[in-house]
């Protein structure tokens, strides 16, 4: 049938669900399924990435295990989703990084942080690394701004290239007919992603350790997601300050990059911790346990980025600044280059699936 065992299972489940349809009102997956009678690999990968893993269809299903029909949609789609990341990874040679992702991510993170520390130590005097630097340009006494900008731009550009190539393959596989996404659908998907519309169990919240739904995961995800965006905005504003206004970091606490960065940093600390705790408490039946490494690796990377960033902000006028800057830059660098090869891609694939879904809904409404 399909290339993999998990796609065969996803196909079996979608056939069961399509003859049942009780979960139609819970999320986008079931209406999208109903638009099809048979499921290609691309269709299944699309449905897997539409699923937000809220767990409602498991708790509500009369056929979930121990019933002999053994219907577990959230778990099956979780596994399929993770395998789809590997299937569309670019370049193909690196798709293996998804297999032992936790390990890969930790090694890369450790290496980049070590590289920054060693680099700072090798290129600078001992007294510079552990010295107290204040005033504009303080950071750049350790690493010249242009070098920093060049390195990080290169890392980010590579990440973007790899992501674009992967997503292109994904879009081709799920788009039928291969079409360009229209603005309306993209806008709709931005709203759906921005509010996590489908992480809601049909309205009550998502399911965690028992059959009592809560909005906990949604809240922590918002903190993480918007924290990340704020941090990104902070860095972008700072870059503009640097090149357009000629103003050098560090900035005073009330200045825009610092305010954005502080708010974002708090989100990036509290959010991932919340998501981590929620994950540990969740009923393992709902999860792809084989992918803990990937999930935790990503959560840890975000947390580390937030934590080192905040520590840098608080201790930037002390002797700890040098080592902290190295750690923070190492964390951010690792986050960037591993973006296309870790759980970060979930956001992109989900977004693309939501665009496709919005497109399909418009097509239906139009016809």
């Amino acid at each position: 049938m399909h290339g993999t065992r998990i796609l065969d299972e996803a196909d079996r489940l979608m056939t069961v669900c399509n003859s049942c349809r009780y979960c139609e009102g819970l999320c986008a997956v079931f209406p999208a399924m109903e638009m099809r009678r048979a499921f290609s690999d691309g269709d299944l990968n699309y449905l897997a990435n539409l699923c937000h893993s809220c767990g409602a269809c498991y708790v509500d299903c009369q056929f979930s295990p121990p019933h002999e029909f053994n219907v577990n949609v959230p778990k099956t789609l979780s596994v399929a989703r993770a395998e789809s990341y590997a299937a569309y990874a670019w370049p193909r040679a690196l798709s293996g990084t998804f297999a032992r992702n936790g390990l890969v991510i930790s090694i890369i993170a450790a290496l980049s942080m070590a590289a920054f520390i060693l680099g700072f130590a090798a290129l600078n005097d001992h007294s510079v690394l552990f010295g107290v630097h204040t005033g504009p340009g303080a950071f750049y006494e350790l690493m010249p701004h242009n070098a920093m900008a060049a390195l990080f731009s290169a890392a980010l550009l590579y990440a973007i290239l790899a992501l674009v190539m992967s997503v292109r393959a994904f879009w081709r596989d799920i788009g039928d007919p291969i079409g360009r996404a229209d603005c309306g659908s993209i806008f709709q998907a931005m709203r759906d992603a921005g509010e996590l519309r489908y992480l809601h169990g049909g309205g009550v919240g998502c399911y965690n350790e028992d059959d009592r739904p809560t909005d906990r995961r949604k809240l922590y995800h918002h903190l993480t997601f918007y924290g990340f965006l704020l941090c990104f905005a902070a860095t972008s504003v700072a870059t503009l300050y640097h090149y357009l206004l000629g103003r050098e970091a560090p900035y005073p606490w009330w200045d825009l990059p610092v305010v954005l960065g502080t708010l974002g940093g708090i989100g990036l600390i509290v959010g991932p911790v919340g998501l981590f705790v929620a994950k540990m408490q969740r009923d393992p039946e709902l999860l792809d346990e084989g992918r803990y490494g990937m999930d935790l690796g990503f959560i840890a990377m975000l947390f580390l980025t937030g934590l080192t960033g905040m520590a840098l902000l608080i201790l930037r006028e002390t002797a700890a600044m040098g080592p902290l800057l190295a750690l923070h830059l190492g964390a951010v660098f690792a986050l960037f280059i591993t973006m296309p090869y870790g759980k970060f891609v979930h956001g992109i694939y989900r977004f693309v699936a939501l665009v496709r879904y919005a497109q399909e809904r418009r097509g239906e409404a139009g016809s």
Partner: protein, 466 residues
């Protein structure tokens, strides 16, 4: 012996939970004994998807009004008059408020599901289906302080002169114990999963029946009540049966094993002979007769035969159709006599008259000169691959029950109302539904009479305590 509860509820489905919540909200202490393990809690309610309630105006999820009078006329038609008018009208009146009451208990509605648009005006669908509905009711019950025990099958009832005293319960851990309560609500469903009991009316044929819902509805409570002097109601030989896929499990296959493709082809028995007009009537009526028709065929098996032109005309099915490039090849895969099936199909094709096909109305596509005729939707079966679904009778529920009053109070054989015994749901559905079925009415009976039974049982307990 442990504490005495105000209200003991036996069962764990819609009727039981509505009764428990309503009794608790009326101030009673309530114990629910559910015979099934936690996962299988809620009997056939787990498999439901909608409920039929009267309403005077369209709502967010219902496309138009469905008046009490219209509901009554529908009920009168499907039962052929075999209903208790006073009780039925009372239920229909109460059903209006159930639409809101059930939402207050945490249940959420959604518009009718894809493929069931014909029910969009009359039936409210549960968001997430029957198990979601049950989860909400259990959550509410527990938050209110109702005690619930699973794996707690009631094995005996102590009843004296129409007065309930105690129930014996078999627990998986503590063995048998006796539980006393001031009032009893029996909401333990019908006896459709009790093959031995079904055999009393259907003979050995019942061995070939498939049970669409829970294996836990064995009718033990019903049997005890009738044996202890409660008046019976409903035709014991009646049961609601539809044709479901023969490959379905013996129990609990639920909604997804159904077939609604009869109108698109022909139906033959194990001798490859047609036996009934496949085009007689439109959904849902045709849906409900095929179970009984198949039950009357040798070995209780039949085959829906159609061709590749119609596969996309009905909902996708759980089990794929069995296919053959020729009618003979299909026949041998079905272990039917190839020559006989070819003959049946050829004769049928020859009898098909030209017409304009429209499966939403009683169209003019019919046969001439073949017995039995196919009076509507008759089209030639000629485009390979030829396809088939094997089907067997799938039993949904039984009609035999306990007679009750408008207060859901059981009536004894001597005509006197019981002091403290109430019934709700399938166990008393026969009062309203002597035969036939209208989609969604099972849940209406459970919710309406469950709510009443709980309230009345609590009232009785309050009067006793004061």
């Amino acid at each position: 012996m442990g504490r005495k509860y105000d209200v003991l509820v036996i069962g764990g489905g819609n009727a039981a939970l509505c009764a428990a919540i309503s009794a608790r909200r009326s101030g009673a202490s309530v114990l629910v004994l559910e015979g099934a393990p936690k996962f299988y809690r809620g009997g056939n309610t787990r498999h439901t998807r909608n409920m039929r309630c009267a309403h005077d105006a369209a709502t967010e999820i219902l496309t138009g009004p469905y008046t009490e009078e219209e509901f009554w006329e529908d009920l009168l038609r499907v039962t052929g008059g075999q209903t208790d008018e006073e009780l039925a009208r009372h239920m229909i009146r109460e059903s209006k408020d159930i639409l809101n009451w059930i939402v207050e208990q945490g249940v959420r509605w959604q518009p009718s599901l894809g493929g069931t648009l014909s029910l969009g005006r009359t039936n409210s669908f549960f968001l997430g289906g029957g198990r979601a509905m049950l989860n909400a009711l259990y959550l509410t019950a527990e938050q209110l302080g109702v005690e619930v025990e699973y794996d707690a099958e009631v094995t005996d009832l102590v009843i004296e002169d129409g007065m309930f005293l105690a129930a014996r319960v078999k627990r998986s851990i503590n063995g048998e114990t006796e539980i006393r309560a001031t009032s009893l609500v029996a909401a333990a469903g019908g006896f459709e999963a009790n093959i031995e009991w079904l055999k009393q009316y259907w003979g050995e044929a019942a061995d070939n029946f498939l049970i669409r819902g829970t294996p836990y509805n064995r009718g033990s409570i019903l049997k005890m009540l009738l044996a202890r002097g409660v008046q019976e109601v409903g035709d014991p030989k009646q049961c609601h049966a539809v044709a479901i896929d023969a490959r379905a499990p013996k129990f609990d296959g639920g909604i997804i094993t159904r077939h609604d493709s009869v109108v698109f082809g022909i139906v033959v028995n194990k001798h490859a002979q047609r036996f009934y007009d496949e085009g007689e009537d439109i959904w849902p009526k045709r849906y409900a007769i095929w179970g009984r028709l198949v039950a009357a065929q040798p070995d209780q098996i039949a085959y829906i035969i159609f061709d590749s032109t119609v596969v996309t005309s009905f909902m996708p099915t759980l089990f794929p159709p069995i296919a053959g490039q020729t009618v003979a090849e299909l026949a041998s895969k079905l272990e039917l006599d190839p020559a006989a099936l070819e003959k049946t199909v050829t004769e049928f094709n020859a009898a098909v008259r030209p017409g304009t096909f429209d499966h939403t109305i009683l169209d003019d596509c019919r046969t001439e000169g073949v017995t039995p005729p196919k009076t509507h939707w008759a089209r030639r079966i000629e485009t390979p691959p030829f396809l088939a679904y094997p089907v067997r009778p799938g039993i949904t529920f039984t009609y035999l029950g306990t007679r009750v009053t408008k207060e859901a109070r059981m009536l004894m054989q001597d005509g006197k109302p019981s002091a403290n015994m109430f019934a709700a749901g399938e166990i008393m559905a026969g009062n309203v539904l002597g035969k036939g079925y209208a989609a969604g009415i099972g849940m209406t009976i459970g919710s309406v009479f469950g709510r009443i039974a709980g309230r009345e049982a609590a009232k009785h307990a309050r009067n006793q305590n004061s």
